[in-house]
C-alpha cells in the first residue's frame, strides 16, 4: 500500500493513525500538502519519520516543500524527495490509501 498523508502532524492525527497501518513489507509513505511538515529536520516528528525509513520508503513531494519554504537540505535523512511524476509512479506501484 501507498499511504498518502496530507495533514500537518501538529494539528491532525493523520500521520499517527497511518503509522499504525504501515506494515513491514512493501508499504510506502508519501507526505504531501501540509503532511510534508512531518519531514522537517529539527521538528517534533523527525525521529518518528527517520524510524519509519528503516523499514519503509518515505517520500515527500517537492512542490509542497518548496511552497512552504522548506529547503531540500532541511528534509530529514533518508526521506526521498519526488515530483508529481514520482507521485504517479508510486500510485502505479502500490494501491493508495489517503489519510486526511
Amino acid at each position: 500500500m501507498l499511504h498518502i498523508i496530507k495533514k500537518s502532524p501538529y494539528e491532525s492525527s493523520a500521520l499517527k493513525d497511518a503509522v499504525e497501518y504501515i506494515g513491514q513489507n512493501d508499504d510506502v509513505v508519501l507526505l504531501t500538502e501540509d503532511g510534508v511538515y512531518a519531514a522537517k529536520k529539527g521538528g517534533k516528528f523527525e525521529g518518528l519519520l527517520v524510524d519509519l525509513t528503516k523499514k519503509n520508503s518515505v517520500y515527500c513531494l517537492l512542490a509542497d516543500i518548496k511552497a512552504r519554504g522548506i529547503q531540500e537540505s532541511e528534509i530529514a535523512e533518508n526521506i526521498k524527495i519526488i515530483d508529481y511524476k514520482g507521485f504517479v509512479e508510486k500510485v502505479v506501484e502500490h494501491n493508495p490509501m489517503t489519510w486526511s
Binding site: 498518502i4 496530507k6 511524476k85 504517479v88 502505479v92 493508495p96
Partner: protein, 116 residues
Amino acid sequence: MKLGVLIKEGPYMHQAIDTAYNFIIAAMEEGHEINGIFFYNDGVYNRCATLEPPRDERNIMKLLTELELKGVRLIVCVAAGKRRGIVNQTVCKVEEISGLGQLLELCITSDRTVTF
C-alpha cells in the same frame, strides 16, 4: 494504467483539487489514462460555473474544463450537488451530473483509485 480520481474537498478551501490536478497532468504526460474524476462531498463545488477568482489566481473551474477537453470524464454526484446547490442551473455542464453508481464503476474499471 487506468487511474480513477475521487475529489472530496471544494476549490480554494483545501489544496486537494490542486494536488489532484498536478497529479493528473503528470499521469497523462507519463501515458496513463485518467478513467474519470468523481466529485463528492464538497468536491462538487469545483464544478460551480460562476467561480470568479482574482485575476492573479488560477481558475480551478477552467483548469478542470481544460482536462475535460482533453478527454477526461468529470462526474459530479447528483445527491451531494443538490444538497449544496450545484444543480442544473449552477453546474458547468449538466451532462456531468450523475449518480453514486458512477463512483463504484470508477473503482471497478480503474486499476487504481486515488482519493484527494
